[in-house]
Symmetry: C2
């Protein structure tokens, strides 16, 4: 639902006439089918990994025929790429890029993003969709590896960028290296995600969030005055 | 090569006679076959994950028949358990438990263990065997999950325990919570391992090691006098 989705809306507004209408509606149906396939594939890949993901399960979940699947996607790989580009990548940007495009205090903004890491049992047990796929596919498949790296890079750049602003404004310690600290934050988040997934226990992730928040507090410059109410360590 | 290996040595010393000899040698051959299967399975699981690991590949690598495989292991799962119990678990203890059973300064010992994290391209690209299997199998299979958790717990307890000694001796900050810090260390190591595996680039792991060492330095109590030569941050 990126450019194609936008195209549909424009076309829908401009040519909602007789013959046009049928074409548009067929186009819309095709788009909906494609979107349903991508969402079902995202769920199945999240459950079983890409290699073990079953096209039969995806077809059964959507009620789509194999013919229709191959109309939209040349291969299982193309469907997997769509999951990265249209589900996992946007989810990373929603959780880690957009919330950091803010005027708030950088450390407060980062703590807010960390506190928003989902800790629902079903998500803790399934792990991070980005990390799952990166762990499975990076050594096996350059196409997946690069797409997933793009998402990690966007995440790291968003964190490094807000830390640079904090240094320019004086709220973040000058000895912090923004790129290194951004990498460390992501390593902590994904590392705790791994431990919590192994433990199958949200408490592990909650403890991780507290520890990451504690580390983020340590990046404040000493003369910056944190708004104490917002970031207790307990 | 744990209890069974020991049994063989004792038996070998005591009954190296005529008939006994043939029995012992058959027993030894069986043990060697079993060991070769476990090592080949460890390599294949490391390459492809447990679910995608191919018994045919393992048999071809060892020259063992399917019958002999099932003589030693009831199932692919039993072979996988042996990989965790006899390869992955011992490797974790070798890298993270044994080096911390030392009289050295606790932070120096931890920094030493972190600096020993392998950064050879083939290992960085394949990732951490413990984390790979935990990520793949924890949500799917309680037997694997628990065995892998045992290895993570031994690692965490070894780190927490040496930090507690450091606090008792005054070399580690009193406000550090040993269990939390141990979890954070493991999260950092595994998280950087994930990022480096995604990047397929040892430089990412080397940068990670530098950052983890920097964090470990920050756990020293202010009045402890580090032996500067041993832990430059560069």
């Amino acid at each position: 639902m990126t450019l194609l989705g936008l195209t549909y809306i424009l076309v829908g507004m401009l040519v909602a006439h007789k013959n046009g209408k049928r074409k548009v509606s067929r186009f819309r149906d095709a788009e909906r089918t494609r979107e349903r396939l991508v969402q079902a594939a995202a769920r199945e890949i999240y459950r079983a990994g890409f290699q073990s993901a079953s096209l039969e399960t995806i077809l059964a979940a959507t009620g789509v025929t194999k013919g229709a699947l191959y109309y939209h996607f040349d291969s299982k790989e193309a469907l997997g790429y769509a999951v990265v580009d249209e589900v996992i990548g946007p989810d990373v940007r929603l959780a880690w890029v957009r919330p950091l495009l803010t005027d708030k205090d950088p450390i407060d903004a980062l703590i807010g993003a960390v506190r928003n890491i989902p800790v629902q049992p079903v998500i803790v047990r399934g792990g991070c969709a980005l990390n799952n796929l990166a762990q499975e596919m990076s050594p096996l498949h350059a196409g997946f590896r690069k797409r997933l790296e793009t998402a990690f890079n966007a995440w790291r750049e968003a964190v490094a960028s807000i830390l640079r602003r904090g240094q320019a404004e004086g709220s973040v310690r000058r000895d912090v290296k923004p790129d290194d600290a951004a990498g460390l934050l992501i390593a902590m988040v994904e590392g705790y995600g791994s431990l919590a997934k192994n433990a199958q226990d949200p408490k592990v992730m909650k403890a991780g969030i507290r520890n990451i928040v504690g580390w983020l507090e340590s990046l404040r410059s000493l003369h910056s005055l944190p708004s104490r109410g917002n970031h207790k360590r307990g």
